[in-house]
């Protein structure tokens, strides 16, 4: 655990890291970004928390098997969406033209409409959940293991 200044600033900055990561995940089909990048941003916020508060304190509220469940559910949503288009072909974008995220943007440069791109926003959310949980679990487990080793020696 680090000093009080670091802990206060970390608990403030984690809000911005979370909101920025979720923004990148949600606007993945309009702006640069997507599930992978947004998940990595949120995982870096978790890394900030681990550095500031120490991995033991974080482990009290953030267990790695919960993160594992989150990651598996992200993978299942992703594969389920992929099977959803199986009537035409695997990974077919079956929501384009429907009422959910179904608008088709005008071709050429435009201002961006959030209700476009069919299954891509859902896949962004699923993959973002997966990457977020996966990288956070890796960071948490490795931080826990290395602190145990420091105590031993």
């Amino acid at each position: 655990m680090m000093s009080k200044i670091v802990r206060t600033m970390a608990s403030l900055l984690i809000l911005f890291a979370l909101i920025y990561g979720l923004y990148i995940i949600m606007h993945g089909h309009l702006t640069p970004g997507g599930g992978f990048q947004g998940g990595a941003v949120v995982a870096s916020g978790v890394a900030l928390l681990i550095v500031a508060f120490g991995s033991d304190n974080i482990h009290k509220s953030l267990k790695e098997h919960h993160l594992s469940i989150l990651e598996s559910s992200g993978a299942l949503i992703f594969i389920g969406l992929a099977f959803g288009g199986l009537a035409i072909v695997f990974f077919y974008n079956f929501l384009v033209g429907s009422s959910i995220f179904g608008h088709i943007p005008p071709s050429g440069p435009n201002t961006g409409d959030i209700w476009t791109a069919g299954v891509i926003p859902f896949m962004n959310i699923a993959v973002g959940l997966k990457v977020l949980a996966g990288l956070s679990a890796i960071l948490l487990v490795m931080a826990l293991a290395t602190t145990v080793m420091e105590v031993e020696e």
Binding site: H29, S68, A75, G102, G112, A117, N124, I138, A145
Partner: protein, 90 residues
């Protein structure tokens, strides 16, 4: 002996790399039929403004599936390695 083998194999490999760097297409002018098709049709076919996301999740969804599998395997492996260690210590 080992150092000589390393030097010989490495110099052959680097010679191939540099020859490839000179023989490949000029930088900035790639061959691009498939990518031109994707840039032209990504808005009408997938509805996404971001062509990279459209490629990742729609045109090449299988790549992303395999990538998700690798990420899942790596996370499972890391968690399993450290969890087994922790139980034995108790």
């Amino acid at each position: 002996m080992r150092k000589i083998a390393i030097a010989v194999s490495l110099s052959i490999f680097i010679a191939f790399l540099i020859a490839t760097a000179f023989l490949i297409h000029p930088f900035g002018y790639p061959p691009s039929e498939m990518d031109d098709y994707i840039i032209e049709n990504t808005q009408s076919e997938t509805g996404a403004n971001n062509a990279v996301t459209a490629v990742v999740f729609d045109y090449r969804g299988f790549d992303t599936l395999g990538e998700a599998t690798i990420l899942f395997t790596a996370v499972t492996g890391v968690v399993m390695l450290f969890r087994a260690k922790k139980k034995r210590e108790k």
